[in-house]
């Protein structure tokens, strides 16, 4: 099973064409294994990108070097996935389908 320990989801809101272009550049760097949950779609529209732990440092460096602000939407993806699983198991224990 794929785990996402240390993975983060960054939210970037490009405000200039240059910023948009820098974000789009990331889409072509396959080695970073980025997963764009919300793909770039224009100025002012949020771009949400799931970044594996090993790629966090280079991605943040790329954004900061280009003066692109970002926020961390999900601090640790695995923590949310674990919570979701726990909820499902709890529900199964409580009310098995008759």
């Amino acid at each position: 099973t794929e785990t996402f320990v240390g993975h983060q989801v960054l939210r970037i809101v490009p405000t200039t064409d240059e910023e948009l272009q820098k974000v789009e550049e990331l889409q072509n760097l396959e080695e970073l294994q980025l997963d764009f949950w919300l793909a770039p779609r224009g100025l002012g529209h949020p771009v949400d990108v799931h970044v594996p732990f090993p790629s966090l440092q280079p991605v943040k460096a790329h954004l900061e070097a280009n003066g692109i602000s970002y926020s961390i939407m999900i601090q640790d993806v695995q923590a949310l996935v674990d919570h979701e699983q726990t909820e499902m198991l709890r529900s199964r224990r409580q009310l098995p389908l008759s």
């Binding site: 996402f4 396959e30 919300l38 793909a39 949400d48 799931h50 996935v81 979701e84 909820e87 008759s98």
Partner: protein
């Protein structure tokens, strides 16, 4: 199904068991069709809600074509129960079912859905494998014969938006194509995704506005107003290409080109805190608000036969 827990996410088996139970409880209203099998030979089930008659005008709703968008399959389960609960006491819904059938495909991509529950929660595509290809899966929302292979999809099998080797290569897509063509009387087609809170209409593959753009925009405005009235959830609406980006081979571009005028795509919650990992406690409110918008679209289709 009154004791089914609508406030949590469920496995494929639990959803299929729910469907069987709903049919067993409501044999005069609900039936289950198998429209095909997935790549990994799982049945593709569609619930049919009908008060009788043959080949009546119909409304199609699908959820879960992108498997990681769990709030959509969960909402589909809630919609199914809602139709049964309200089909007599809700005047709007009763009058829709007096004239039209409703088809609901809750798990449109079962292979991908099982994969998200067992191997990779973030899986989006189908699970088709092709010789010579390093990567698995096709984006089932780029595999339709509408601008297929054009800009707005990828030819790289490792991409999340890989369009596949040819249109309808994915059995999950082909099954719906065959069903729509054989039924021949579907008047509204609504494909439900998440996330980013949008109500979209064709086209995605070209900037050319659809001939019915004005009407679809007006319907969208009313539907979004109804949706937002419940919890204040803010939505944007418009054509795919002007509202988000160019996307080729998309579901509702194909259905619109088949003559199904009322073709829409929803992008449900999240607003930008959890993305695809929307907490289960938001399932029911999301389904409730979406249902209000669906009723606007369904009532418009009922009142504007074509």
């Amino acid at each position: 199904t009154n004791t089914f827990d609508y406030t949590t996410y469920h496995s494929l088996d639990e959803i299929y068991a729910f469907m069987d139970l709903l049919v067993a409880e409501n044999p005069n209203l609900v039936s289950k069709l198998e429209i095909g099998q997935s790549t990994e030979n799982r049945p593709l089930y569609v619930l049919k809600f009908s008060k009788g008659g043959t080949n009546r005008p119909a409304i199609w709703i699908d959820t879960g074509i992108h498997s990681r968008e769990w709030v959509t399959q969960a909402s589909g389960v809630w919609f199914a129960k809602k139709i049964v609960q309200d089909h007599e006491n809700d005047e709007g819904l009763a009058s829709i079912l007096d004239k039209m059938d409703i088809f609901l495909e809750i798990v449109t991509n079962p292979d991908g859905f099982v994969f998200t529950q067992t191997q990779n929660r973030m899986w989006r595509k189908t699970r088709s494998k092709r010789s010579g290809s390093l990567c698995i899966g096709v984006d089932p929302n780029r595999n339709w014969d509408a601008g297929f292979g054009g800009p707005g999809a990828s030819g790289n099998p490792c991409s999340e938006t890989y369009h596949g080797p040819y249109a309808n290569s994915e059995p999950e897509v082909k099954a719906i194509v065959d069903f729509v063509k054989s039924h021949g009387n579907i008047k509204a087609f609504i494909s439900i995704h998440s996330y980013s809170q949008l109500l979209l209409y064709p086209y995605g593959y070209t900037r050319t506005p659809v001939p019915d753009q004005k009407e679809l925009h007006e319907i969208s405005e009313k539907a979004v107003a109804a949706l937002s009235s419940l919890y204040g959830t803010s939505y944007k609406y418009g054509s795919i290409i002007t509202t988000i980006y160019q996307a080729s081979g998309g579901t509702i571009d194909w259905t619109y080109n088949q003559g199904i005028k009322y073709s829409f795509t929803f992008e449900l919650r999240d607003t930008g805190r959890y993305g695809f990992l929307l907490p289960a406690k938001q399932i029911v409110p999301t389904a409730q608000e979406t249902w209000l918008a669906l009723q606007v679209i369904m009532q418009h289709a009922r009142d504007h036969p074509y």
